[in-house]
């Protein structure tokens, strides 16, 4: 019974949906204010969702209906599941075992795969190009992201997110040595969430809507909710690995601190997407492999050296 409550209400589906929409509002409002616009009212993400859900569901004749329908649900479930393994407040996540770091990263890859499959099975040309781009992009950002998150894990000598958080809370000095990794994973997260300058798979001036060209109604609503929650989970992962402060606080204060951390990451992401132009896919590949990946290696070496020669 408690498990069902965790899954559906808190910290599961309903909590993440509300939090995701709030984060989307903050992102959109900040983006608008930075661009000298008024921006949407606070209920806009919810209104958008209700509008999409109440709309007719259109599936292209050529598309594979079951794959077309399953993909948004799969994206949503994968992101929600990933959240259970991230220590949000307190030292311990809801579920944790040695190796959950890899599971979380794996679960966060699933949305991109669903974008690919959803785009591919909708058989529209724009969707297919968007799908191929999404997959190409995955190979660019996934390696730097994985390496930059692996580095702190190496230093903490654990593959469990809860253990990592605990280690850094006990040794706050080490935090400064992971700042490079924090920056790298932040940039990679932009790629994962398909935001400017890495919104190549859904570049509207080139390929209309990319993967989501043929999606509409409930399915698009679910996809968008999935992306909102992916943003939350990604930010929470970064906060857990790179910002492990105040984990021992009492429940309410700890929860508020967690919300603040996630919002901090989200706001940084929206500032980043304000100040850049969209890159081309070849430029993005070159940037990720030639700049981000070597920097992630540097981060790995820093942590290896620290492990070898401990501070104090």
């Amino acid at each position: 019974m408690m498990g069902l409550f965790y899954m559906l209400v808190f910290p599961g589906f309903i909590f993440l949906s509300v939090f995701g929409m709030a984060a989307e509002y903050c992102d959109r409002k900040l983006y608008a204010r930075l661009q000298n616009r008024v921006g949407p009212p606070w209920f806009q993400p919810l209104a958008d969702f209700i509008k999409l859900v109440s709309k007719e569901e259109i599936i292209p004749e050529e598309a594979n209906p079951s794959m077309f329908k399953i993909m948004p649900v799969l994206a949503l479930t994968a992101t929600i599941t990933a959240f259970f393994y991230i220590p949000a407040w307190g030292y311990k996540a809801l579920y944790s075992f040695n190796g959950d770091l890899i599971v979380v990263l794996y679960l966060l890859t699933i949305p991109t795969l669903t974008f690919f499959l959803g785009g591919w099975y909708s058989t529209s040309l724009y969707s297919k190009i968007g799908a191929v781009r999404a997959l190409t992009q995955l190979f660019a950002y996934e390696v730097p992201l994985l390496m930059s998150i692996l580095a702190p894990a190496l230093l903490a000598n654990s593959w469990s997110l809860s253990e990592i958080a605990k280690f850094y809370a006990q040794h706050p000095v080490y935090w400064f040595f992971n700042l490079l990794g924090f920056a790298i994973s932040m940039i990679s997260l932009l790629g994962k969430l398909e935001k400017v300058p890495f919104d190549i798979p859904e570049a509207e001036t080139e390929i209309v809507g990319g993967t989501f060209t043929e999606y509409g109604g409930k399915l698009l609503g679910l996809f968008r909710l999935g992306i909102d929650i992916e943003a939350i989970v990604g930010s929470a992962l970064l906060a857990a690995v790179f910002l492990p402060f105040g984990l021992g606080l009492p429940p309410v204060a700890g929860f508020l601190l967690f919300v603040l951390k996630v919002m901090g990451v989200i706001c940084t992401l929206s500032i980043l997407r304000t100040i850049f132009a969209r890159l081309r896919i070849d430029q993005m590949m070159a940037f990720c492999w030639k700049v981000l990946a070597p920097l992630a290696f540097v981060q790995l070496f820093i942590d290896l050296i620290l492990k070898w020669i401990p501070l104090k």
Binding site: N36, E204, T205, R278
Partner: protein, 407 residues
């Protein structure tokens, strides 16, 4: 990925007007690009022949939503040349003033659109906000934000007061400051430079060969500007530089447009200072004497050309418009050679296309059922000879004479 043909348009988020491009892709690379015009044909040239000259001034203004003043000025200049009207100096100055304000709003609009095409929406929002300054000035001067309706045959309809002149000068200062900031953004923002630099290359030779005009040509080092080469209105009395650039790419086109903005501010300051007193319009008879004239005008997008033939009545016999986009659209296919799909929107946008101005073509497309009606070039040639013979025009003798003369 095997080869795919994707349609860009007639309806596409990258295009502001309906126009059809078909792109053959191999992966991300563009193998073949073809454009098909004709989705916006409104028959304006024919409509001009059905209306009086005064009505035509308003009609030609509606050829383009952005360079509306360019077209109406170009048309009135042609008519005034036929009617041999002496346009008052003050009217010429006011035409120049509105023309330059229009160039400012058009170039700022272009910068925003270019930003949007490369996914840099912040630039779009900023430039369009600042564009409001010049739109307000235009609304104050003419009463309208677009389609100003300030031209008349023989002069202009509204005068510029001293307070308005002051407001214009003040607006120029604001805009100059902002434009300098945008030049800084365009020359320093890494991602923007990466997307613009080296994209859509049109060599100097190709620009001349394909007959490019306006900023597109000037960014390929073609030093051509009607305002200087064939001065009209008050341009012979103001000092300005013709901005050229030898980057040959979209980045160069951006720099040319930014440079032209700064020149426009200086032109407007000179115009406002030098503006002579006097009447703003002379009376022109409704019937224009027979004759023909061609008028050239440097619109924001390039050289605009109007040909008007009068037959002594109050309606023109023929009006022909050659909008700048028609001259530039051929260059797009050249610019897209070996480029990627991601470059397509910005390369098309870089010529600052205005498709509704361009659409006055007759196209014949070979479709399955109507094969019988399609003529080959030789058939068309013989058909034209017989057609003219039937109408009593025979070129046979003339052709023989020409052949002799050539020998």
């Amino acid at each position: 990925m095997h080869k795919v043909v994707i349609p860009i348009g007639p309806q596409h988020p990258a295009l502001k007007e309906p126009e059809s491009f078909s792109v053959t892709l191999s992966g991300e690379k563009i193998m073949k690009f073809s454009a098909r015009l004709g989705y916006n044909h409104r028959g304006i040239e024919k409509a001009c022949e059905e209306r009086t000259y005064v009505q035509d001034v308003y009609l030609t203004e509606r050829i383009c939503g952005i360079c509306s003043h360019s077209h109406s000025t170009c048309f009135t200049q042609a008519v005034e040349e036929i009617a041999k009207v002496d346009v008052p100096k003050r009217a010429l100055y006011i035409r120049t003033l509105v023309g330059e304000l229009e160039r400012i709003h058009s170039h700022l609009l272009w910068l925003g659109v270019a930003g949007h095409e490369v996914g840099f929406d912040t630039l779009l929002m900023y430039t369009w906000r600042d564009r409001e300054v010049v739109m307000d000035i235009l609304a104050m001067l003419t009463g309208n934000r677009v389609n100003y309706g300030i031209n008349m045959i023989g002069g202009v309809r509204r005068d510029v007061s001293a307070e308005q002149a002051k407001a214009i000068l003040k607006a120029m200062d604001t805009l100059e400051e902002r434009t300098k900031y945008y030049i800084q953004v365009a020359t320093q923002e890494t991602t923007l430079i990466q997307r613009l630099s080296g994209v859509g290359i049109l060599s100097h030779k190709d620009a001349l060969k394909l007959g490019a005009v306006g900023p597109t040509a000037r960014a390929s080092g073609v030093n051509r500007d009607v305002r200087r080469d064939d001065p009209y209105a008050a341009y012979s009395e103001v000092k300005f530089k013709v901005i050229t650039d030898d980057h040959n790419d979209v980045y160069g086109r951006t720099l040319v447009r930014m440079g032209e903005l700064l020149e426009s501010y200086s032109i407007i300051r000179q115009i406002v200072k030098k503006m002579p007193e006097g009447p703003i319009i002379t009376k022109v008879p409704r019937k224009i004497p027979a004759g023909e004239a061609t008028s050239r005008y440097e619109a924001p997008r390039g050289e605009d050309m109007h040909y008007v033939k009068a037959n002594g009545t109050e309606k023109p016999e023929r009006v022909k418009v050659r909008a700048p986009t028609l001259a530039n659209i051929q260059t797009v296919a050249k610019m897209l050679e070996d480029r990627q799909l991601a470059d397509l929107p910005i390369v098309i946008a870089a010529i600052d296309p205005c498709f509704s101005c361009t659409d006055r073509l007759t196209g014949i497309r070979q479709t399955g059922k109507r094969k019988k009606n399609v003529l080959k070039w030789e058939e068309l040639h013989t058909y034209s000879i017989t057609f003219y013979k039937e109408h009593g025009i025979d070129f046979t003798d003339l052709n023989k004479k020409m052949a002799k003369a050539l020998k």
